[in-house]
Structures are given as structure tokens and as C-alpha cells.
């Protein structure tokens, strides 16, 4: 199945530090995949916003078990190609959009969170600060109403999927 993957510069996996091979070559997980453990992980578009990093790739997974978290795990996977539309400029647009989406509705604590988001959005880059803006904006949404965090994250992921031309299941 096809999915997406955010990597650090040089095809580096954010949590394990493993370097993915160039596009087309399979990466085999060290042990059979169990839930949340060893296995090659990739994302569905619904959770894009949670995982942003410098590089966005389309990936192919050999088989693949979908977890509740919007993550898919498979014994092996390979990169297909970069989503070129994801870069620092797109990240800054994302950050601004996140901040702008919560600011008008926010008051009290939520407004403070939203102000934080807006302040950081201007200098956001794909590497880290854009991710933090998304989180802060989602926290602002949660301060407005319980369940707001999850809903805001979904909105953010839809925004990304549309902006990057990635199909939303």
C-alpha cells in the first residue's frame, strides 16, 4: 500500500536515526512488526500535521497493518519519491494558516496560546518551529472546547494534504 513518511535531511528517520535507502530500494525492519514496535512505519494523510519534518516522501509498504493512530506498519517499505511541494515556504504557510485558524475564535487562555502560535509562525521552518506552531494552535483549540485538539489536528492535516496535493482517504 502507499503511504507517506516525514524524514530528517538525508532520508534520516526522526526517531531511530536510521537512514532510508534511496528511492526504489527496500528497507527491511529488523524484526517482525508488532504494534508500535519494530517494523517500518509510515503515515496516512489524516495525521500529516502531527509528524512534520524537513522531508516528505511517498512510500510503498509491503503489506501493512493500519494502527488506530493513523500510522501503518509493515515488514518492509521503500521510498517512492519526494513530495517536492513540502519545503520551508510551505511550512511557513502551514504555520500561518494554523495560527490564523484559531486566533479569531480564541479568548482567555486560548487567546494566549493562539498569540504564541502567531508569534512563532512568521519565522517557521519545516525543520522544527512549524511543527511547534501546529501543536500550539491545536492546544489553543483544546482550550476553547474539549476535543478541540484532535479536531484542530485533523483540520491541519487536511490543509496540508490539500496544499501538497496529497490524496486524503
Amino acid at each position: 500500500m502507499e503511504a507517506l513518511k516525514f524524514l530528517r535531511p538525508g532520508r534520516s528517520a526522526p526517531f531511530t536515526g536510521v537512514t532510508w535507502p534511496p528511492a526504489g530500494q527496500w528497507l527491511v525492519a529488523a524484526a517482525p512488526p508488532q504494534r508500535g514496535r519494530a517494523g517500518v512505519h509510515a503515515l496516512l494523510p489524516d495525521v500529516l500535521a502531527t509528524w512534520i519534518a524537513e522531508e516528505l516522501w511517498r512510500v510503498e509498504l509491503d503489506g501493512g497493518q493500519e494502527l488506530a493512530s493513523g500510522i501503518v506498519v509493515a515488514p518492509r517499505g521503500r521510498l517512492l519519491g519526494r513530495v517536492e511541494a513540502w519545503n520551508d515556504q510551505a511550512a511557513r504557510e502551514f504555520a500561518r494558516a494554523c495560527a490564523a485558524h484559531v486566533r479569531p475564535r480564541a479568548s482567555g487562555r486560548a487567546a494566549e496560546h493562539a498569540a504564541d502560535a502567531a508569534a512563532t509562525a512568521e519565522a517557521a521552518v519545516a525543520g522544527d518551529s512549524a511543527a511547534r506552531v501546529g501543536y500550539v494552535a491545536a492546544r489553543a483549540a483544546e482550550a476553547m472546547a474539549p476535543g478541540g485538539f484532535t479536531a484542530e489536528r485533523r483540520w491541519q492535516s487536511r490543509w496540508l494534504a490539500t496544499r501538497l496535493g496529497v490524496r486524503m482517504e
Binding site: 526522526p14 508500535g36 501546529g134 492546544r139 484532535t150
Partner: protein, 81 residues
């Protein structure tokens, strides 16, 4: 917040469990969701990993010629017994 999350203060306490692969799957997900946006904790984790790598370079594999010679004596005595 009603959405479960794992914050920086909690992360630094469980980071060894994470590196050892001894976290339940749900907690591991929360930790990684946090790491995904928190560059500060990414720095902390990377520094911890670097510390472990550097600690590994302390290993010297040589006991020194005097100690080695003394042990050879021990061996030859035992063999001669």
C-alpha cells in the same frame, strides 16, 4: 488537557525505557508525538544518545604487559602443578 499527551518533564524520566524498547506501545506513540514537535526534547534525546556513544569509547582492551606477564606465571604454575 483531555487529550492524552506526554510532556517534556515526563519524557526525561522515561527516556531510558524508550531507548531500551521497554515502553508500552501507546506510551511510545505519545512520546514520539511529543518529539515530533518538541525540538528541545529532540536535542535532549540526541545528547543522551551521544553520551552513550561517547561512554562506549572509554573501553580499553589492554591490561598492560606487566599484568599479562603475571597472569602467564599463574597459568604456568597451574599447568606445572
Amino acid at each position: 488537557m483531555s487529550v492524552p499527551e506526554l510532556n517534556c518533564k515526563e519524557l526525561v524520566e522515561v527516556v531510558t525505557d524508550y531507548l531500551e524498547g521497554r515502553m508500552p506501545a501507546e506510551r511510545r506513540l505519545l512520546l514520539e508525538e511529543h518529539l515530533a514537535f518538541c525540538d528541545w526534547c529532540q536535542t535532549y534525546l540526541e545528547q543522551l544518545r551521544a553520551t552513550i556513544r561517547l561512554t562506549g569509547t572509554l573501553r580499553e582492551d589492554d591490561i598492560g604487559p606487566a599484568a599479562r606477564a603475571a597472569l602467564l606465571e599463574v597459568f604456568r604454575d597451574w599447568k606445572g602443578r
